[in-house]
Amino acid sequence: MRPEPDSPALAEAARLWNSVYVHVPFCARRCPYCDFAVVAADEAGGSDTARYVDALVVEIGMEPDPPEVHAINLGGGTPTRLHPRDLARIVNTLDHRFGIADNAEISIEANPEDWTPGFARDLRQIGFNRVSFGIQSFDPAVLESLGRVHSPQDAEQAVAAARSAGFSTINIDLIYGTPEETDESWGRSVDRAIELEPEHLSAYALTVEGGTALSRAVLAGAPAPDPDQQADRYERVDEVARSAGLVRYEVSNWARPGHTCRYNLSTWMMGEFSGFGTGAHDHRGGVRARNIRRLDAYLDQVEAGVRPRSGSECLDEFESERERFMVGLRLAAGVRTGSIGAPFASSEEGRRLVDAGVIGARDGRVVVLKPLLTDLVARSVLSVSPGDC
C-alpha cells in the first residue's frame, strides 16, 4: 500500500531521509525572471563545464562524514547541459562517497529542448529515475515572454521520450501569472500538461525577484503579475490536478501516490541534506551552510582545496523549532504542533487566523487551510518568542 502524498506519516518519515543537492549553473541563456545562481553560455566560464565537474567531484570528496542517501537532485541552471559522461561521473562519485540507498530517488531538472530519446536512455542507464521538465507553459506567447526557447511540441516529445526510456516519475513544472497569459490560455496549458499524465506536477506563481530583467522591466513600468489573477489560476490548476488523481502535498506541488518528491519533502521537514556546487545549500548536524554563488570564486576555492562556503548559521533550540514549524506549514499534511504550535495558535494573530479559516488543527498538527496565505501565516509565527513556549 502506498501512503497518500499528503499523509502525515509520509511527511514524518521524510524527516529521516538524507538527500544531496548538486547545482549545475550552466544555461544557454538567462531567463528574465530567474535569480538562481546561473551562468549563461556567453558569460565568463559559461562553457567550461569540464572544469566545473572536476570541482564538483573534489567538493563531494570533502564531505566529512557522508551518510547513505535516499534522494539526489541535480538542479540548476540546466543540468542537462552536461554531457551524460559528466553526469555519470557525478552520480558515481556520490555513490562512492555517500553510498546510494536501494530505491533512492535520483532526479534531474531538464529543459525539453535538450532532451532526446538517446539522452533519456543514457540518463536511465546512469541511474536517474525521475526527471523534472521546465515546461512552464503550453502557450507559445507565454513561453516567449519567459525567455524559453522550446515549443509546446518539444515539451510533449520530451515527456514521451522520458516515458519510453522508463523514468518512473515525470514532473512537469508550470509557471502561472505572466502578464501575457489569459485565464483561457492557462486553462489550456493545465489541460495539456494533465493529458501527458505526469506522476508529479509543480505550478509556481511568477515572482518578481530583485535584480532580474523582469524586475527591471516592472520598475520601468511593465505590468507586474496580479495576485488575484494568480490566485484564480492556482485554483484552476488545483481543481484540474485533483480531478486527474494528483494530490496536492505542498503549496505548489501535486503527485500521485508513491511519486512525491523525496528531496523536496525532506527539505520541508528539516531533513538533512548536503549541497554541492555554486550557491548550493547544506543542512547537517543543526548547521545551515551555503556555498559561494560566483562561479570563478567557487572554482578557485575548490581548486585550492578549501570547502567553498560563503557562510553558515547555527540555530539554537528555539530557532530551529520555529523554523521547523514555519517551513512545515507549506505541507498539506500540516506540521506537528510541537512546542511552538500551541502558543502560536492561542496568540492574538493565531486566533485571528483560526477565526478567518486560514489555519486549523488536526491530529496534533497545524494545517494551513488556505495554502496561498502560507507566507502570511509564517510571518505571524515570527511573533512567537521563546518566552511563549
Binding site: D228, N253, G275, H281, L372, T374, D375, R379
Partner: protein, 600 residues
C-alpha cells in the same frame, strides 16, 4: 566692561530660504568670531532637525566683537530667531530683547508675507529696522526692485537699503557699519536694581534649565541670590555666560548685554519666558512687561503603536516640554488606538517636528491622528464646551451650534496670480478684505478665514498654484458659528474614533468620498472583505470595500535556502510593525493622517 553706547542688540528677520543663516554665518566669519576652518553651514542651528530642514526652531544669542571703521570696538549681540509662521511667538520674544532688526529680503523674490508680518511686529516693538537685500549675486536678482519694495513697505527711501550677498560676502562690511551707525544703543540704568528679561530657555541634561536673558537694568554676577518674579522662585546664579558662538562662561552680565543664565532649576515651568529676573535682596518690585503665552492652534492625538509604550511617551513629552513650553498635552483614550495624548501644537510644522523628535530621540513608534483645530460647542443648557477632538463633540440632541476659530490672513502674491489666490481662498470659505499693491507687480491681500481651512494643506496649495511665489501669514481672530458636522468613518461596520473629523456641511460629501477612497488605497487587504463607510450620524454618505487578500506566498525555497526565506519574512514582518490593529483590521500609520492629503 563695554559701555552702553558700544553695545548693539539686533535680530535678523527673513523669510525661509532668504539667507538668514548664511548671513549670520558670514557676520561671524567677517568679525573673526569664527575661523573659516571651523565654519560649517548654519553654525547657530544646533538641532539636527534644524540643519536637515534648513530652518531655525529655537532662538539663540551670539556675541560678536566688532572693530568699526572709526577704530572703536563694539559688542554686537545677534539674536537668532525662527522664520516659520508656527514660531512667531518665538520671534516676538526675541524682538523684545533687541533695539534693532535687519529685515532681509531675497533680491530675486522680494518681500514675503511672513517677513512683513514680523517686520510690522518689530516696528510695533519700537525697533529700528535696517532693510537688507540679499543674494545680489544671483543672476535672477533684481536688487533695485526689491529695494523699492522694501522702502515702500517700511516708508523709507530705497537708498537706505543695504545690498549684500551673504554667499560671496559682498556688502557685509557696509552692513556691519550700518548696524553700528543706525541701530540705537540699549537704554537702561546701570545703577538701578537688576531687571533681566528671560526671552527664551531650554533644557540641558547636565545643567538643567538654561535661560537666555537680556539685562535691562543693573547687572548680575555669578553666585548672586536672584529671584524669578512671576514664580517668586529664589535661586542662585550658578553660571553666567555668552556664546561666541562657542559657549564662554563670564562672571558678570551688565546693563544692555545678552547672555545665558544657569540656576540648577530642573523644571522649565518654574522659569517662564517673559519673566523678570531680579536680586532676591534689594531687587526691584517692578517687573518688565511679560509676553503672551503661546496658544496651541492645532490638536492631534499621539498614540504609541505598542500600548506598553504609553508611559515612555509621557516621559518623552515631559522632556520635550522642558525645551518647548508651547507644547501642551493631556491623556486621551481612543477606542481604536488605546491610551495616548491629545497634544496641542502651534501649527503643522511644529506638530511634524515634535513627532519626529519623539520618534527619533526617544525611539517611539507613534500613530498621529488627523489634526483638528479647537472648536467650541454651544449646548442647549447654555453651556460652552471646548472641542479639541472630534470625539469631544456632544451628541446632536443637546447641541445648539458649533463655533470655529477664524484667522486674519495676509497673502502677498505676484499680480498675475491674484485670480488664482482668490479662487483658492473662496474654496476655503475665505472672506475678502482689503487689497493693496506693493508695486505694480505685487499685491498684498487680506482675508478672514476659518483656521481649519488653512491649517492643513492651504500653504502647500498656495505655493503650488502660484509656482512658489505667494507667501502667507496669519494671526488669530475671533470665533464664529459655522454649519459644521462630524463625519464618522466606519471600518468593517465599526466607527473608528481616530478617523472622525469635523467639517463644514457643504464639504461633507466630498470629504467622505475622498476619505473613504484614500483609506481604501492605504489599508492593505485583510483576511476578509472590509467595508469602509463614511457617515454623518446614522446616514451613510459613501462606501467602498477592500477585498480580502487571496495570495500571500512565494515559490519554493530555492535549493533549500531556508535562511534567506526566513530573513525575507522577517523583513516583511518588520514592515508590518507599523500597523495598528483597529478591531479586526490592520491599519497602517499613514491612514490616520489620510485626511491631510485628500485630493478634493
Amino acid at each position: 566692561m563695554t559701555a552702553l553706547s558700544r553695545i548693539r542688540n539686533f535680530s535678523i528677520i527673513a523669510h525661509i530660504d532668504h539667507g538668514k543663516s548664511t548671513l549670520a554665518d558670514r557676520l561671524l566669519e567677517r568679525t573673526g568670531a569664527i575661523s573659516e576652518r571651523d565654519m560649517r553651514e548654519q553654525v547657530l542651528d544646533d538641532m539636527d532637525l534644524e540643519r536637515e530642514r534648513g530652518i531655525t526652531i529655537k532662538a539663540n544669542a551670539v556675541r560678536i566683537d566688532y572693530r568699526a571703521a572709526s577704530g572703536d570696538m563694539y559688542q554686537l549681540n545677534f539674536i537668532d530667531t525662527p522664520g516659520h509662521v508656527d514660531f512667531s511667538y518665538e520671534v516676538s520674544r526675541s524682538l523684545e530683547a533687541c533695539e534693532g532688526a535687519l529685515l532681509v529680503v531675497d533680491a530675486s523674490q522680494g518681500v514675503e508675507a511672513q517677513t512683513l508680518a514680523n517686520a510690522y511686529l518689530a516696528i510695533e516693538e519700537g525697533l529700528e529696522i535696517i532693510p537688507v537685500v540679499n543674494k545680489i549675486d544671483l543672476p535672477a536678482a533684481d536688487p533695485d526692485r526689491a529695494a523699492e519694495e522694501l522702502a515702500g513697505v517700511l516708508g523709507g527711501a530705497a537708498d537706505e537699503v543695504i545690498h549684500v550677498s551673504a554667499k560671496t560676502g559682498a556688502g557685509v562690511d557696509d552692513l556691519l557699519e550700518a548696524i553700528v551707525a543706525r541701530l540705537p544703543a540699549p537704554e537702561g540704568d546701570e545703577h538701578a536694581p537688576l531687571r533681566a528679561l528671560v526671552f527664551d530657555s531650554f533644557y540641558d541634561t547636565y545643567r538643567g534649565v538654561v535661560s537666555h536673558v537680556r539685562i535691562v537694568d543693573g547687572s548680575i554676577s555669578t553666585g548672586e541670590a536672584i529671584r524669578f518674579m512671576a514664580t517668586s522662585l529664589d535661586v542662585h546664579a550658578d553660571e553666567l555666560g555668552i556664546r561666541r558662538p562657542s559657549t564662554e562662561a563670564v562672571q558678570r552680565l551688565n546693563t544692555g548685554e545678552v547672555g545665558y543664565l544657569v540656576t540648577g532649576v530642573k523644571e522649565i515651568d518654574l522659569i517662564r519666558v517673559g519673566d523678570t529676573v531680579t536680586h532676591s535682596r534689594g531687587g526691584t518690585t517692578k517687573a518688565l512687561p511679560g509676553y503672551d503665552e503661546p496658544k496651541p492652534m492645532v490638536f492631534s492625538g499621539l498614540f504609541p503603536t505598542d500600548g506598553d509604550d504609553f508611559e515612555r511617551l509621557r516621559e518623552a513629552l515631559d522632556k520635550l516640554r522642558l525645551n518647548d513650553s508651547s507644547l501642551v498635552f493631556q491623556a486621551e483614550t481612543s477606542r481604536a488606538l488605546g491610551f495616548g495624548f491629545r497634544v496641542g501644537f502651534l501649527g503643522l510644522l511644529h506638530m511634524e517636528i515634535v513627532r519626529e523628535r519623539l520618534e527619533r530621540e526617544y525611539d517611539l513608534e507613534l500613530v498621529a491622528t488627523a489634526p483638528s483645530v479647537a472648536y467650541v460647542a454651544n449646548l442647549a443648557s447654555g453651556e460652552q464646551v471646548p472641542v479639541r477632538s472630534p470625539q469631544d463633540l456632544p451628541e446632536a440632541a443637546g447641541l445648539v451650534s458649533i463655533e470655529e476659530p477664524y484667522v486674519k490672513v495676509m497673502i502677498i502674491t505676484p499680480s498675475e496670480f491674484i485670480g488664482t489666490v482668490m479662487d483658492l481662498v473662496q474654496q476655503r470659505r475665505g472672506e475678502m478684505g482689503e487689497m493693496t499693491y506693493l508695486s505694480p507687480e505685487r499685491a498684498e491681500l487680506h482675508y478672514r478665514m476659518p483656521l481649519a481651512e488653512i491649517v492643513f494643506d492651504f500653504f502647500d496649495l498656495l505655493k503650488t498654484r502660484t509656482r512658489g511665489y505667494a507667501s502667507l501669514d496669519y494671526e488669530p481672530d475671533d470665533y464664529q458659528v459655522s454649519d459644521l458636522v462630524r463625519v464618522n468613518i466606519l471600518l468593517n461596520g465599526v466607527p473608528v474614533d481616530a478617523f472622525s473629523t469635523i467639517v463644514h456641511r457643504g464639504k461633507s460629501y466630498a470629504y467622505g468620498k475622498a476619505m473613504v477612497g484614500r483609506l481604501r488605497e492605504l489599508i492593505p487587504r485583510q483576511l476578509f472583505d472590509v467595508p469602509i463607510q463614511a457617515a454623518i450620524g446614522s446616514r451613510i454618505i459613501s462606501r467602498e470595500t477592500i477585498k480580502a487578500r487571496r495570495k500571500d506566498v512565494t515559490a519554493k525555497c530555492y535549493g533549500g535556502d531556508i535562511t534567506r526565506k526566513r530573513k525575507l519574512l522577517e523583513r516583511q514582518k518588520e514592515g508590518k510593525r507599523r500597523m495598528k490593529m483597529v478591531g479586526q483590521v490592520e491599519v497602517p500609520q499613514e491612514a490616520f493622517v489620510a485626511a491631510l492629503k485628500l485630493d478634493m
